[in-house]
């Protein structure tokens, strides 16, 4: 039997041959040193090629792309397709800032912020006292009196708004009652079986529409391999 072609050797090594052809090559290799050496030679070669070290991808590779996407003027709907993963902040040049782990607002930080707020209030009060002197309290009373007047006006307006909302809901209730009466009159002419059939058909249409919309959304979000 003549030696095999190199194409056949590669096809054998890559599993592209039928079982029968593969057996023929193996049987021939047992008795042919040249073919046996060629097979082994190319097996090691392909094994080395397939095991080449992958090129390292940095952790913020995807974040960098998402930052540039955010900066692009594309429609928001298409951006949502890519903007799924949790990501770190973006610099103005579009690069991602690596997220610093463990950065939380501590209780001590909260107390410090509250203390700073109280100190600022005390400082403002002191400044007012300095500016107005003995006239500070009458000034505050006038300010308060004016505030009470505005508050009273606001409450009056809020009560009016609540009354209008109540009127609106009463109108809606009357409309619903009228529609119910009309519906009862109509359904009295239609048999219960037909009513049930119509309800089932409407529910099926609604469910089908939701399913189709959902599948379209999912397909845009993560295209899958066919």
């Amino acid at each position: 039997m003549s030696c095999f072609k190199l194409e056949d050797i590669y096809a054998y090594l890559e599993g592209e041959l039928s079982a029968e052809d593969a057996r023929r090559i193996e049987a021939h290799a047992l008795s042919c040193p040249a073919c046996r050496a060629a097979i082994e030679d190319r097996r090691r070669f392909l094994g080395a090629a397939a095991s080449l070290a992958p090129i390292e991808v940095p952790d913020d590779f995807a974040d960098g792309i998402l930052c540039r996407l955010e900066a692009s003027p594309a429609p928001a709907r298409r951006r949502l397709i890519f903007l799924f993963a949790a990501r770190s902040a973006c610099r103005t040049d579009g690069a991602a800032i690596p997220a610093r782990p463990g950065r939380r607002l501590t209780v001590l930080g909260g107390l410090a912020a509250a203390g700073a707020g109280a100190a600022a209030f005390f400082a403002a009060f002191s400044l007012l006292a300095l500016l107005f002197g003995r006239n500070l309290w009458p000034f505050l009373a006038r300010l308060g009196h004016g505030s009470v007047h505005y508050l009273r006006e606001a409450v009056t307006a809020a009560v009016k708004v609540v009354k209008y909302i109540q009127l609106f809901f009463r109108l809606v209730q009357d409309f619903a009652l009228a529609m119910t009466a009309v519906f009862k009159r109509i359904t009295s002419f239609i048999s219960p079986e037909i009513q049930i059939a119509c309800l089932i058909a409407a529910a099926a249409l609604l469910a089908g529409g939701i399913l189709i919309w959902r599948r379209r959304s999912l397909r845009m979000e993560s295209p899958h391999e066919n």
Binding site: S2, C3, F4, K5, L6, E7, I9, Y10, A34, C35, A37, A38, E40, D41, R42, R44, F45, L46, G47, A48, A49, A50, S51, L52, A53, P54, I55, E56, V57, P58, F61, A62, G64, I65, L66, R68, L69, S72, A74, R78, I81, F82, F84, A85, R219, M220, S222, P223, H224, E225, N226
Partner: protein, 167 residues
Amino acid sequence: MIIRRYQQPVVNYIGRMVREREQALDFSQEIFLKAYASLASYRPQFKFSTWLFKIASNFMIDHWRKKKLSLLSIDQAPDDEEDRAPVQIADTEPSVVRQLELKEMRTRIDAALAKLPAALRELFVWRHINGFSYEEMAEIKDLPVGTVKNRVFQAKEMLRRLLEEPA
């Protein structure tokens, strides 16, 4: 997520083509951005990976055209005849690969890849590093499957001959 799923294969491909890591990462990001901009042209009946790599391949072609490299090296492979006579194994064929340790062989293959014509290198990387089937590569390049098989075979044998050269 799309980017995290395909970032390694794309970077592996681009990295073997441009031979420089930082540039490969930049180009890979550009490719994903182009894919995002072209999402409207994606048809779900086709594999997403082949669509993405078509964009990547066109990107590399544009890059080489801008660098004014020979179009022959980009678009064609030497000896693209499908009727070419198949190569028989010679009795005295040297077994140079056996003499090299695996680690050294990987290093030599990596270096020898740079000497392959771009068209052959691309197909070899797709087949033996990215793991694409011949049908997938034919779909990406819009070539007959037989042509793709021929070119991958040429790439493999050319690479083996380059390994015989002194390091």
